[in-house]
Every structure is written in structure tokens, then in C-alpha cells.
Amino acid sequence: MYEFTYHRPGSIADAVKLLAGDPDARPMSGGMTLIPTLKQRLARPTSVVDLSGIAELKGITVSGGTVKIGGMTTHAAVATSAEVQKAIPALAKLAAHIGDNQVRNRGTIGGSVANHDPAADYPGALLGLGATVHTDKRTIAADDFFTGMFSTALNPGEIVTAVSFPVPEKAAYAKFPNPASRYAMVGVFVAKGPSGVRVAVTGAGADGAFRHKAMEEALATKWSASALEGITTPQDTLNGDIHASKEYRAHLIGVMARRALAAAG
């Protein structure tokens, strides 16, 4: 690792101040991506602003048909939350299958969405449920938040403070994990609820997570796996790499969508 200065502010205001004063400062949530990146010298921030000392960024609240999860809430906390399990079981289950136990004990929802790894699970849930991202400055609809691979609508120095999810009528997530990394080769999140009928795909898009409009229209007409018959995914916007070709991922999207639909009931 290159040298950097470590800060651990106790409030959002202090964190924002530290980040605003230095364009090469980086916020850190769980550090499950940032620390390996620093170790490989793929990034050289002047300072790392650890958000773990900010109590107001942690916690889960469920009220009025909305589940709100603080940005620094770990995957383990979401996975084991009785409230999330009850309100949106698909979300708790998704969190329970991110990485491994040790990653889930440190990794956070805020870090995951701010990083927008194209193979991360949470972006699928945000798009699939029509979530809202809260930052220290504003709120951003999930549909406007993910702007490309490792790219989001966040401005430099802007911090994800929470994500709120409307409670759906039905929802499920099906993922085909890479057997080594547990990242999604393809993950499909389907939901029916206050945000309409939604189908979100992660792991497959060249620009990161995306909504599958053709499947959404078909399921809006008829909420059944049979409605998905014959729907294919154009391969030109998919990601092909050493783990899977575009063609393979396009096929998996159909398989995962049908599995998710079966699980959602």
C-alpha cells in the first residue's frame, strides 16, 4: 500500500468536511473492496475517511411500508434482521449470500451501492424494488443512481447515508454465483409492488445493473414464468469475460428470472 492518512470522523458533517477539502481523499465503509484495491496499489488516495465511527449511519427501521437501512449497516446485520426478514425476505436472503461470513461482517450496503461493482448483488435489489438512495445532500431514485460500471450519480465526496426500499407484495432474487468469488455471474431480482412490476439484472450488464424492460412488460401482463417464454436478452450490452461469455450470461438471465419468479410465488 502507498501511504495515506487515516481519519475516523464521528459525524456525517465531519466526514463531509474531510472529503470536501481534498479531491484525492476517499471515503471507506466496510473496506471490503477499498482495502484490497489499496493493497494492490490500484488506488493512491491521500487520505482514507473511515465512516465506521458515525453512529447515525447504522441501523434498520421499518415504518409505513418502507424499510430504511443506514449506509454503514453490514450485510450480516441485514441478513439476520428479523424486521427485514419479515418485511422483505428476498432482501435478507440476498444479503445472506453476499461473499462469505467474514465479508458480510464488514461489508456494508452503502459501500456496495456506492462502488457499483457490476457483479455486486445489492444494485439488483435497489433497481428491482425501486429503492431510493439517501446521501448527505439529497435523495436519488435507484433508476437514476447507477450510471455505469463502477459509476454512480454520486458527486465526489458525497456519502450514501441510507437506502430505503418500499415493501413489495412479492419479490425474490435468484443468483448464479461465481464458484470462487461468490459474486453474481448473473443475478435477477423480480418484484411486484408499489413500484410496479420490476425485473433487475446484475452481474451481466457491460454498464452494471439494469432493468429488463421486455420481461417487466411481459410480467405486468401476466405474473407467471410462462409469460417469460421466448423473451431473449440482446447481447450487445452484456459483459463477456473469462468467467462467462455474453451468450452464456444472456441464457442465464432467462434461467435466473424463471427461478426468481418461482421463488416469489
Binding site: 495515506f4 475516523r8 493493497k39 461470513n101 467474514q102
Partner: protein, 168 residues
């Protein structure tokens, strides 16, 4: 250099570290607790797993300064003062849950966290899934799973003594 203060295996410790020092470097190089291993150094193999405030974490992927004020337990902190092994360590010995032994400290630390957080008991499949963050390059998983199954019975008070391994 900044100073970090934390509790390691029940004892308060304080040391000067660089901001970029990893927790595993503090443990191994400064405190000389070399039971915690570095295998892949890329957060995948789990040889470096320790407990921080009761959660198993990969100490190669945590800055030492992030552990400020934390309670850290390493493999050296498990046995009683008189040398009596933790039930998980005893089970790993009884079931010969190791071949070369390199992954063993991380396996034991992950297994204890896994068992503690699942008081309802774990099936063989759940144990295997719970070990996803730990790699054994000898591929000695089978006996590791058997050991964890035996240890969970002791840790949850279902049996007083560790079930013995079947005689060969």
C-alpha cells in the same frame, strides 16, 4: 507515528503503527502472535481470520487503526490458562481436521463464530456453506466439517464430552 490501543486476547495493548498497517501485521509483526496466518493476502483464503468485537473478520483486510478500542481474539486466546483447549480446538485434534495445518487457525476462528451465531445447530450442508470464506489447499474439508459438528454439540451444551471420532 499514530498509536493504536486495543484489547488482544483479554490484555490491553498499545502500539505505534502506520496508518496503512494492517491488523494482521500488527498481530504478527508487532505483537508476535504468529498463530494468525497470511495465506493469499487478497481476502479470499481466510487463514488470517480473527474475532473483532465478537465477529470473525479477515485481519488482512482491516487496518490496524480500524481496530482502535476493539476486543480482538486470535487463535492464541482460545485455550484456557491451564492449557485446556477450546472445544473447537479439541475437536480439530480429535477428528484430525488438518493436514498441513496452515489454514487451521482461520478455520477454527471462523468455525467458532459460525457455531456461536447458530444456536439452533447447523446441518452438514450449513457448516460447509459457513466455511465459504476459508480455503484448505490440502482439501481436507471432510474432517473439518466433522470436527465442527462435534464441537457444536459441546458448545451448545448438548453433550458434556466431545463425541469421539470413530476408530479406524
Amino acid at each position: 507515528m499514530p498509536r493504536v490501543s486495543l484489547t488482544v486476547n483479554g490484555k490491553p495493548v498499545s502500539a505505534e503503527v502506520e496508518d496503512r498497517t494492517l491488523l494482521v501485521e500488527l498481530l504478527r509483526e508487532t505483537l508476535r502472535l504468529t498463530g494468525t496466518h497470511v495465506g493469499c493476502d487478497t481476502s479470499q483464503c481466510g487463514a488470517c481470520v480473527v474475532h473483532v468485537n465478537g465477529d470473525s473478520i479477515k485481519s488482512c483486510t482491516l487496518l490496524a487503526r480500524q481496530a482502535e478500542g476493539a476486543e480482538v481474539v486470535t487463535i492464541e486466546g482460545l485455550a484456557a490458562a491451564d492449557g485446556t483447549l477450546h472445544p473447537m480446538q479439541e475437536a480439530f485434534r480429535e477428528y484430525h481436521a488438518l493436514q498441513c495445518g496452515f489454514c487451521t487457525p482461520g478455520m477454527v476462528m471462523s468455525a467458532i463464530d459460525l457455531v456461536k451465531k447458530n444456536p439452533q445447530g447447523l446441518s452438514e450442508q450449513e457448516i460447509r456453506e459457513g466455511l465459504e470464506g476459508n480455503l484448505c489447499r490440502c482439501t481436507g474439508y471432510h474432517n473439518i466439517v466433522k470436527a465442527i459438528d462435534a464441537a457444536q454439540q459441546v458448545m451448545h451444551g448438548k453433550v458434556k464430552e466431545l463425541p469421539r471420532a470413530a476408530a479406524e
